[in-house]
Symmetry: C2
Subunit: 147 residues, 2 copies
């Protein structure tokens, strides 16, 4: 198994970060503008679309202000069955986000790519909360050579 | 063992990317402005400084236009003995960079942080080569809550 791991400090109360991870409308402001579904109930499904493709995720855990866990239930084969985890902690003026996208079977090139893209979307989340403006898809930077 | 993996496409000939990884002057334009040493000889040492701290790396492999491998020989304990690898491939107009920082003993918070920072420095490398301007330390974005 291979894991993507990231850490970012966001200068804001943890409740603001938690809200940005648990409502489709708010996720749409930092990850992909085409986000629908229910992120605020365990068992709910979130649907993320990027152009033609995308991912569906089931909400497995919600611990307000502390942790969010999603499982990928539809999308590219490499993603299905992987888990996306968000562990949050307030440290002084910062909310520390420990992010994981865990359970990749192999370190394929697409996994390398997603690792870099997650970092950029975490910066989009940080920017959204600290400045009011994120860079969700399709306004994000293209870093691949794929169509 | 835990690995940091990233992928980025840079719209430029591979020779330009290889040059940006093998001379201290050029690395200083995208990673940290305080970079010294010899990156163009196997066995050479590169010294990277960020404020008070930093890393020393030994050049283990150089395969022009294809691969660069460094070993961390001094710096924070978690980094010592880890390897930083750069695999390059020209695909059409792009140089594809597969980056690895491999051999971390544990997925500590500092490793999560470095994963995110490497993505941002790869974007600095991409920007340097595509636009002429990178964002090396200390001009990079602070993403942590550490002094």
């Amino acid at each position: 198994m291979v894991d993507i791991l990231h850490r970012v400090g966001i200068k804001a109360p943890v409740a603001q970060v938690y809200a940005a991870l648990t409502t489709a409308e708010r996720i749409a402001d930092w990850w992909t503008t085409d986000t629908r579904g229910n992120g605020d109930d365990v068992g709910g499904t979130l649907r993320f679309r990027f152009g033609a493709g995308g991912f569906d995720m089931k909400v497995l855990e919600l611990d307000p202000g502390t942790r969010v866990l999603w499982e990928v239930i539809d999308g590219p084969g490499e993603w299905i069955g992987t888990h996306v985890s968000w562990n949050l902690e307030q440290v002084g003026d910062y909310t520390i986000v420990l992010f994981g996208h865990q359970g990749w079977k192999e370190p394929v090139e697409f996994m390398h790519h997603c690792s870099t893209k997650w970092a950029l979307f975490l910066m989009s989340l940080k920017s959204l909360i600290e400045t009011g403006t994120g860079t969700p898809d399709p306004r994000d930077v293209k870093i691949d050579n794929w169509n």
